[in-house]
């Protein structure tokens, strides 16, 4: 059962002044005008705008007499949730006082930090609509807001808005008021949230930091062009997440940075024949190095994020004894983070990353030059949310084409060093998808109860390759084919991931034994650690037991036929 309270927002035309609107509405509604309110609020959300996705706004509001509180408003109605809070700053859910707001936010926000996005000056004129008993049945608020810019930048005015909120149990009255607002006052509903407007006014992306590639490829695009368009977006993502990683804002900045690097490595590996190998080598080394120097911190982040779940299975009497283990993990994480930060701030990182970006620019420029003038405008493509079309002509195909003059240091059409460069991207990606899938089927079929753990780990790595190919290039084929395949792959990767994670975690915990023995409470902790490692071993065994069923679904004969028919057709 939900306590749904209807709520709608209406755009107020600039020409409409509050007094005239109130006078107009008063002809049809019994209105009470409340004293105007003004305040400065700070809107917050996670970097990836999880509250926006959930249809809610969260704000720090000043409290009369000092201090602040956090107030959550849900766009579709529902109760306003409030919690006392400190001054506006980065906040984790666990920092909030226990209560309804924290309970509501926890599953939405998870491990992400709530970050101040904008400071707003708000002037509001509240109105109440009464029924025949003099009871408030709808609340209206005419609001003007301005984004406060840093320094002496002044304010940026946002579009004025009228918010209508119903009262529980008086839905018919709300609908009547809504009709008056649209039919009588001529107002139109708006779905653009206040926070979106504020973020856009500050030059940000209202949808938040991007983690998904939105390049819109066409099957006949040149492979080097398509691949480099994807790589440029991934490189943008690495850069977008670097600051939050170095500032340790939350664990997901590093996670998403690593995902973008891993995907980039995957594209370079799977599409390697679209690039001259001598150019590719150093950049593949750079990306591998970034992956290596960030690995320990991420592994420890995972250990700590999963800590509550891990210890939940340990008997209560031994759970308290595990606290020194957690303390040690935190210390290891701090040390790993410092080492990682040193590397990511090093000259090596700066220079090798700059070189990688220059490589991408050069490939993009060369590919565009080879393809001739642009046939499709870059930028937002209709029907593809945030998608960018790839510039340039359709791929001509490498076979039978004569070699052309190349730009210095880059490959051109027909360059034997990069035979796939000018081939249609669908043909090359499809061929790679079929190839990786077939190898997974072959390797997975050979796994039995006696196979070493490394066999499952290798299969998981292969699975990641396939997943990235499908995620980055799957848009070239019908979603009805790609989605079930991604689903079966995700299921398989789930058990393989658990198998591998538990092994890494158990190994790390075992390696801590000597260090732990020397700490206060060490002997008790060691005993409890044994129970924890046993539990990880059991979970690893369970994951392994689930492998056969998931793999059978992934490698079913029907599925193999679909893969060959769909992705192998143009190869």
């Amino acid at each position: 059962m939900a306590l749904d309270v209807p709520a709608r927002s209406y755009a107020l035309p600039d020409a409409v002044d509050a007094a005239s609107l109130v006078a107009l509405l008063s002809e049809r509604l019994d209105l009470v005008t409340e004293p105007t309110r003004s305040a400065t609020v700070v809107v917050v959300d996670t970097a990836d705008r999880r509250l926006r996705t959930a249809g809610a706004d969260l704000m720090f509001e000043s409290v009369r007499g000092g201090g602040h509180r956090l107030v959550l408003r849900q766009h579709a109605g529902g109760p306003r949730l409030v919690a006392e809070a400190g001054r506006p700053r980065r906040t984790l859910v666990e920092d909030l006082p226990a209560g309804a707001l924290r309970d509501h936010l926890a599953p939405l926000v998870e491990m992400r930090a709530l970050l101040p996005l904008a400071r707003l000056r708000v002037a509001a004129q509240p109105l109440r609509v009464l029924n025949g008993d003099g009871k408030t049945v709808v609340r209206l608020t005419m609001t003007t807001r301005a984004v406060v810019l840093d320094g002496d930048g002044g304010d940026v005015m946002l579009a004025p808005q009228l918010d209508a909120t119903g009262v529980l149990g008086y839905v018919k009255d709300f609908e009547r008021v809504a009709r008056v607002l649209t039919a009588r006052a001529g107002l139109t509903e708006t779905s653009v949230g206040v926070v979106d407007q504020a973020v856009a006014a500050l030059g940000g992306d209202p949808t938040g930091i991007r983690t998904k590639v939105a390049v819109r490829l066409r099957p006949d695009d040149r492979t080097d062009q398509g691949a480099v368009a994807v790589l440029v977006e991934l490189a943008d993502m690495v850069e977008a997440h670097l600051g939050g990683t170095l500032d340790d804002i939350d664990t997901e900045f590093l996670h998403d940075l690593r995902v973008a690097v891993r995907r980039s490595r995957s594209v370079l590996r799977e599409m390697k024949q679209a690039f001259p190998p001598d150019e590719l080598g150093p950049h593949r080394d750079t990306l591998r190095w970034i992956q290596e120097v960030t690995g320990d911190t991420r592994d420890l982040d995972v250990q700590l994020l999963e800590w509550a779940n891990l210890v939940a299975g340990v008997p209560g009497t031994r759970r308290a004894a595990l606290e020194p283990v957690r303390g040690l993990l935190v210390r290891h994480r701090t040390a790993a983070f410092r080492a990682m930060r040193r590397e990511l701030r090093s000259t090596r990182f700066t220079e090798s990353w700059r070189s990688y970006r220059a490589f991408l620019d050069a490939v993009a420029e060369r590919a565009e030059g080879e393809a001739g003038p642009s046939t499709a405008p870059a930028g937002q493509a209709k029907g593809a949310k945030g998608g960018k079309k790839v510039k340039g002509k359709k791929g001509k195909g490498a076979k039978g084409k004569g070699a052309k003059a190349t730009k210095a240091g880059t490959a051109g059409d027909g360059d034997a060093r990069a035979p796939d460069a000018a081939r249609p991207v669908a043909a090359v990606a499809g061929r790679r998808i079929v190839r990786v899938y077939e190898r997974m089927v072959q390797e997975g079929s050979a796994i039995d109860a006696t196979s070493p753990a490394t066999a499952l780990h290798d299969l998981r790595k292969r699975g990641k390759e396939l997943r990235y190919l499908l995620e980055l290039f799957g848009g070239l084929w019908p979603p009805a084919t790609v989605r079930p395949m991604v689903g079966a792959l995700k299921d398989l990767q789930g058990v393989l991931g658990t198998h591998q994670d538990r092994e890494v975690q158990a190994d790390h915990l075992r390696s801590m034994a000597d260090e732990l023995a020397a700490t206060s409470g060490g002997p008790d902790a060691l005993l409890a650690l044994g129970a924890l490692v046993d539990r990880l071993d059991v979970e690893q065994d369970e994951a392994r037991a689930g492998f056969a069923e998931r793999f059978a679904a992934f490698a079913a004969p029907d599925q193999q036929r679909v893969v060959a028919d769909t992705f192998g057709a143009g190869a």
């Binding site: 059962m1 306590l3 509180r69 306003r80 409030v82 408030t136 529980l168 149990g169």
Partner: protein, 248 residues
């Protein structure tokens, strides 16, 4: 959800005034608050301008056959909802008696609302009956208004003994003075002495003030309508005491 109940065997001692003002203060402090007007006279519903009508009446409600969410009404105080009174509540004793485990019924009725509210305040009718026994079972704390008089102590001790002896799930008792007339020496003496000898009695005291009586005319809690009045300040003190004692 924490459940409080304003209760006294006597009528006209300030139960409803305390219930509506404490509920308003709770909502203003950010707690999602429900007020259940259990009194068939419907004074709390009247104060919030909500029609004292419950579809299906009290019988269907206590049997758990009503869609309780559909019966709720938002009040003019943001964050405060009301489960209105109904004249059929005068037969609630009979309805409870006809149901299984009557003293546990009200707790069961409230159970589906627990996820939506941080606090529920039950405004009880004056009596000792199955309704009050069911209220005692549902409540984490009883808020008992006491008019400072010679019989006050005796009545209060009777209630405390009854709750301790007869109720399985014993609620905490928090008593406070109500309708205090500082011009009367007896009132001053009782207000000063009783909290010394009885730890369940808090020091905050609601004055016999005209603004409290005017609530029936204004149909708004004094803590909303006359925030700086003596009565509003007294209710704020009482709310602070209750929060501290009950841990809301």
């Amino acid at each position: 959800v924490k459940v409080l109940a304003t209760y006294n065997i006597k009528g006209g001692v300030g139960k409803t005034s305390a219930a509506v003002n404490l509920a308003a203060l709770a909502a203003q402090s950010g707690l999602r608050t429900l007020l259940w007007d259990l009194d068939p006279q419907g004074a709390a519903s009247y104060l919030f301008r909500v029609r004292p009508k419950v579809k299906g009446g009290g019988r269907k409600l206590v049997r758990g056959r009503s869609d309780i969410v559909a019966l709720l009404r938002g009040t003019d105080v943001e964050g405060l909802d009301l489960l209105p009174a109904d004249f059929s509540y005068r037969y609630m004793d009979l309805a409870l008696d006809a149901s299984g485990k009557p003293t546990r019924r009200l707790r069961k009725v409230l159970a589906p609302l627990a996820e939506h509210y941080d606090l529920a305040i039950l405004d009880c009718p004056p009596s000792i009956s199955l309704v009050s026994e069911s209220v005692f079972d549902a409540a984490d704390a009883l808020l008992v208004p006491l008019i400072p008089s010679t019989l006050t102590l005796r009545t209060f001790e009777q209630l405390s003994d009854f709750v301790a002896a007869e109720v399985d799930r014993t609620p905490q008792v928090v008593a406070f003075f109500s309708m205090v007339d500082r011009r009367k020496r007896l009132h001053r003496d009782v207000v000063a002495s009783l909290p010394e000898s009885h730890t369940t009695v808090v020091r905050s005291a609601i004055p016999a003030a005209s603004e409290v009586e005017l609530m029936a005319v204004e149909r708004t809690p004094v803590v909303v309508n006359a925030t700086r009045s003596r009565a509003a300040r007294a209710y704020a003190d009482l709310w602070a005491d209750v929060r501290c004692r009950v841990g809301v």
